[in-house]
Symmetry: C2
Subunit: 348 residues, 2 copies
Amino acid sequence: MPTITDVAKAAGVSVGTVSHYLNGSARVAEETGKRIQQAIDELGYQVDLRGRGLRAKHTRTVGLLLPNITNPFYAEIARHIEHSLSLAGYQVLLCDSFDSTSREDDYISNLMSRRVDGILLIYSQERDSLQELSRRSKLPIVFVDRGVPGEASVHSDNRLGGRLAARHLLELGHQRIALLAGEPHVRNVRERVAGFREELEAGGVPLDASLVLEGEQALSFGHRVDELLGEERQAPTAIFATNDIVAVGAWRRLIELGYRVPEDVSLVGYDDIEISRLTLPPLTTVAQDKHAIGQRAAALLMELIEVGQAAPHDKGVVIPPGLVERGSTARVSKVSGRNRDEVRTMKS
Amino acid sequence: MPTITDVAKAAGVSVGTVSHYLNGSARVAEETGKRIQQAIDELGYQVDLRGRGLRAKHTRTVGLLLPNITNPFYAEIARHIEHSLSLAGYQVLLCDSFDSTSREDDYISNLMSRRVDGILLIYSQERDSLQELSRRSKLPIVFVDRGVPGEASVHSDNRLGGRLAARHLLELGHQRIALLAGEPHVRNVRERVAGFREELEAGGVPLDASLVLEGEQALSFGHRVDELLGEERQAPTAIFATNDIVAVGAWRRLIELGYRVPEDVSLVGYDDIEISRLTLPPLTTVAQDKHAIGQRAAALLMELIEVGQAAPHDKGVVIPPGLVERGSTARVSKVSGRNRDEVRTMKS
DNA sequence: TTGAAAGCGCTAACAA
DNA sequence: TTGTTAGCGCTTTCAA
């Protein structure tokens, strides 16, 4: 691989001149420029960004650390982040932590050794060490999809999202409303649940404790919806799942059992990932603006890197979610009980 | 950020000694080592891999270029690649080409400027320039999920996959078999189709031209399955879609129209991505071993990087696909026509 | 066992 | 407008 020295030799000039030509840092005579360009073309020269960065004190590289690139929600955010960043001349180092805190730490120290200009972090577990991470490493870090008090972050307003879901169900006249809380201990879920509760109470329909289930963030947890459905108890007319995967799991079980969505039970999910369009009918869900999250996170990080610090009001960016109504929710039906029995009979 | 010089000063030794201590390139007295380590700890020193790479002639960084990280198939492969590579001390630069050839080229030259040690490429469009890419850039490149004649590559045996699908349907007694070919011009799809055709012919049930539809690789194309279903013509008893998304699209439309899967029509997809488990019943599909693909691709690239060239028999790695039988296929039913009418009546 | 010094590819200050 | 040179952080001879 030819170096700047090779080019200089071939063009019969000094490396300084080539450097100036390359960076426009000084005027270069037209004639000289031509010779240099010719040498570059002939040799197939490409700058070595390492050498440049060594002097220039930056690498134009950032680390993107996330729990699982296979999760469509993270993948979408990652895509928008990478896109914004690459337009601005940054490249991103992908680090999949497999949801492991220790891999996360390893990655961070590796990224530091590579002298990345900053880090975008979707951490897997909340922990104290996160708080001081940025200060200790003296590296700009922005937390994505999770707020960290006092730290730069970009995330969605989960409490509002929960309220949106509740309001929608309330407006449709539902009174018996169930909640499927996946990973109830993680902050984002906690907030969705809190918002959901709040709004329900404000609407005069407090959440019935016997109608909430807690579990993991997985299809299989959704399947457990049948626990809400025993013959002996009055079934809910609407269900809110704290994410789309769980909602889809619930939908499958519901259909298998002969319930109709939304006629017998309305269903709302959270996230608005691709699969919410796959069910029949497609899922009503609280949409997170993945585009905005990714784009703002990238912008915030670049601001931190380039100007040293962000305007205070930009330190904690929160993106509002929005309800997207698709087919899985409907006005509560007065005859839903009867309908349901009919379906059951048909089935057997 | 402290440098090796700072450490050397703090420990009262020369930088050479610190370097030796760090890399074990020479014996360092125990006492000296202790002092160095102490300095490192106090200063919070971390090697600068850029400086090291400048001398050492490598960066332990590779580029991963793919059309869309949001596509679950690519995301899974990406994950396994990143995992294998990171275990071996490499980091990966994520480049999402948004399916654009020109962005692809830009990325490649950028990666070269960063002096990556190699590139993993899932290209978006087949084109001649691909062939000479590796030779011209003198950079190890392995093509992933797409074979390129004469170049290092790791991909699945798509022809075999097509045959597997056909054989399965044949064994279940199907005679009227339809094909949904998404993006029929791309090599992988072409091969799946070819294999499918071959096996069908070998089984004495050649593909009926009126039963093949061509379109994009999207849910919406699957919806077009109804074109195969008009009242006036004899509907197929089985459908093969060249990927899972299309299969899911077909499934949705089928269900909406009152057909039962698999009683009225069997359905087989391709890829075995997550969503194939979401339908009701879950999709029978030809599984590609994303783990093997990612892992072998990473291994091949590292071999190319570290030993300079791969054993010839490893240059074109092909991974066998496998049929995974789930609920969407069944033995052809003699009464499927009647059943179907019943369902229709019930529906209206 | 340690140190001195050259050099990796580049930029930038200074001089010419 | 161009050239010379120091130096970015590191490794690696070669000597001591």
